[in-house]
Subunit: 413 residues, 2 copies
């Protein structure tokens, strides 16, 4: 007999957080918080206040006014201010190394270009990446390789697992410019050993870039301890910033003066409002900002970071492991007999916040599940991806969602 979800919920120290997210009237089980996190209740009110008091009330003065308590200070500094807050709450990074800006794709381009351009100076021209990495990462790196005369070295990964330090050690050499990898694999949920992979990259003199899109806000990240050089991640998954939320980027302090990103806009220039001739990069992480920061779009991120800070990432990770373990228990009990196959790691230490199963009828099942208000994600060709946002998902929701998956697959059997 599987565990009783009511008992698990009763014992969950993070259970009260569920009510801090807005409900969706027709949704029985939302199992896709890893694609788009739910809005914190505070978001709607914070946006209303922002529009009326900050944008509408302060108008252009918002860019430069001294801090008004509770407003986050002058907008000009929000990329670093909210970046530092995110770094402290979820990234294991000291201040001055993180910005909120652009999209993940654009930041990835800027940071990977900075790394590759720097390494090309000493003849390093190989970018190491795995075949199961997220599409935009692969496409961006292919584009950079083509335009800079670099070469991609592909690592084939196990679809039910992911990149290992041994694989990276075997792929890097004195010609490697950059290793780019996702901390949590978007398909399998594999949680990479980031410290060991970073060390393997560094042993060969390569720079290491992490994509934290599927890990930030769900598993513990320790960029400084890993010794990571660069990182990017998206704001709309476990960071609950809303559809198309701004992304974040990290550049290790010691690398900031050495690396130069290619989109040299006014907001990354020293003394931008002199509007003088010639681009001269600002000191520190600011030089990685390009255009006018997306201030209004950062407001939901601020709300979500408050919830995450309050709960604490260690408790979030503990619940995430409990949720995926419970989901696997139900999958084994109910779905494997119906022909489903688990393609996520069994080892909780190597598993992120989602669990993926394969079933020949996955595509048809998805449509039926959505009509029942059970919302997992689907990945070509036959995978259902079940994501469990720790703060907004109850064990009962996991249970009810998997009851529906079971019933739908059984009806198709």
């Amino acid at each position: 007999m599987p565990n009783d979800p009511a008992v698990l919920d009763a014992a969950d120290p993070l259970a009260p957080y569920r009510d801090r997210f807005l409900p969706a009237a027709d949704v029985v089980a939302y199992l896709d918080g890893n694609s788009l996190g739910r809005p914190p209740v505070a978001t709607a009110e914070a946006l209303d206040e922002f529009v009326r008091q900050e944008w509408g009330g302060r108008l252009i003065r918002g860019w430069t006014d001294d801090a008004i308590p509770g407003t986050g200070g002058p907008w000009t500094n929000w990329p670093e201010r909210i970046g530092d807050r995110l770094a402290e709450v979820a990234l294991g990074a000291a201040p001055g190394q993180t910005i909120v800006a652009d999209s993940t794709t654009v930041l990835l381009y800027k940071l990977a270009r900075a790394a590759v351009d720097h390494q090309l100076l000493t003849g390093r021209r190989t970018i190491v990446v795995d075949t199961a990495d997220f599409p935009t990462d692969r496409y961006v790196l292919e584009g950079i390789a083509a335009e800079r005369g670099a070469t991609l070295r592909w690592i084939e990964t196990d679809p039910a697992a992911g990149l290992t330090a041994d694989q990276v050690a075997g792929a890097v050499d004195g010609g490697t410019a950059l290793v780019a990898a996702s901390h949590v694999a978007y398909r399998s949920g594999w949680l990479a050993d980031a410290a060991a992979i970073t060390a393997a990259a560094h042993d060969a003199g390569a720079l290491m870039l992490w994509d934290l899109s599927h890990s930030a806000g769900s598993v513990e990240v320790a960029l400084d301890d890993w010794g990571a050089d660069l990182a990017v991640g998206c704001g709309y998954k476990y960071l609950n910033g809303g559809p198309g939320a701004p992304a974040f980027g990290y550049v290790r302090a010691a690398a900031q003066a050495v690396l130069r990103q290619p989109v040299q806009g006014w907001m990354g220039r020293r003394d931008p409002f002199t509007m003088g001739p010639g681009y001269d990069p600002a000191d520190g992480i600011r030089a990685f900002v390009s255009g006018t920061p997306p201030i209004l779009a950062m407001v939901p991120l601020r709300c979500a970071l408050d919830e995450l800070a309050d709960a604490g990432i260690a408790a979030v990770r503990a619940k995430s492991m409990a949720l995926t373990a419970y989901a696997l228990e139900l999958v084994d009990e109910w779905l494997v007999p119906l022909g489903a196959e688990v393609v996520s790691p069994r080892d909780p230490a190597r598993r992120g916040g989602h669990v993926t199963i394969r079933h020949p009828a996955a595509r048809a099942a998805l449509d039926e599940l959505w009509t029942r208000g059970v919302i997992p994600d689907y990945r070509e060709p036959t995978s259902l991806r079940l994501g469990f946002a720790p703060l907004s998902t109850s064990f009962t929701e996991v249970h009810d969602g998997l009851v529906a998956v079971r019933d739908v697959l059984a009806a198709m059997h």
Copy 2:
């Protein structure tokens, strides 16, 4: 005697629009709508509805659901949908050529790179730009020139006017790759003859890129009629999208299959959700999208476009000309005797939506004006820039603002 502002307001057909924008409690005269437009009243409510109904209610389904009336359809298509709406309302462009995405700086990089990379294939390697162009444009183009082995050719412009077709004709030749220019100059307010300048660029075989940041939503733009190849512009000035709103980009239909932008992300790929190997650009303007579109941040833009469409750009431009003419009348009457100098065109056909004056005490005056709730902008070293957003500014506001400028300058005299 200057005109009576009450009479001008009474005769203003757009006067009712002023109440469609949120008030700022302590502001007597907002003369910086060209830096940051005010929020339409509908914005706060639209964001609240978006957070609760669309993001919170539809969750991940929002990306792919069929259109629900009033919601703008599936989020996936918003870059083109809102782009097309903007194109129709304010850009003089047929559908399928405009997207809303990124920041102005990032879009400028992507589009200018696409143009320069294409032209380099035939040995064209000069980028023509004027010394008074907006800083981010100059910095981005300098960066592109440096990384692509291109050369900048600078045109010196009259600080009280701006770029002319004759100047462009004199600067281009068979080696010119790209001419980049601002439609309305950010300092002087000079309104360039875009059709003639585009023709001059084309006569030499160069591509033409317009920055519409200071013109879209304020003066008439006719990208298709001009024959422009590329355009970018920002969403937070006369388009009232809020601080750091997404930008827009235009690529002429005939050029879309030829030009290729460098930030090749998943959202610009054909069939992105197959997540397959290799980047293959989507058809049409979609290939100029890179990362996940900033959906939530487009909500305010949609509200503002409704107001602009309702008023009509011809009426907006007519009021803009009346506002700047009235401002110049007051400046001549009150400020010139106090030592102010007008550095904006006198000819209304060559003047955009703002007027700039020079005065040695401008910097100190600005601080005093802000404390009085009169909010112009300041530009180094001695300029006050007076912007008049046509939909949200009354003639009385212009009058009261200039009374304050007069009193402050007189007290310093």
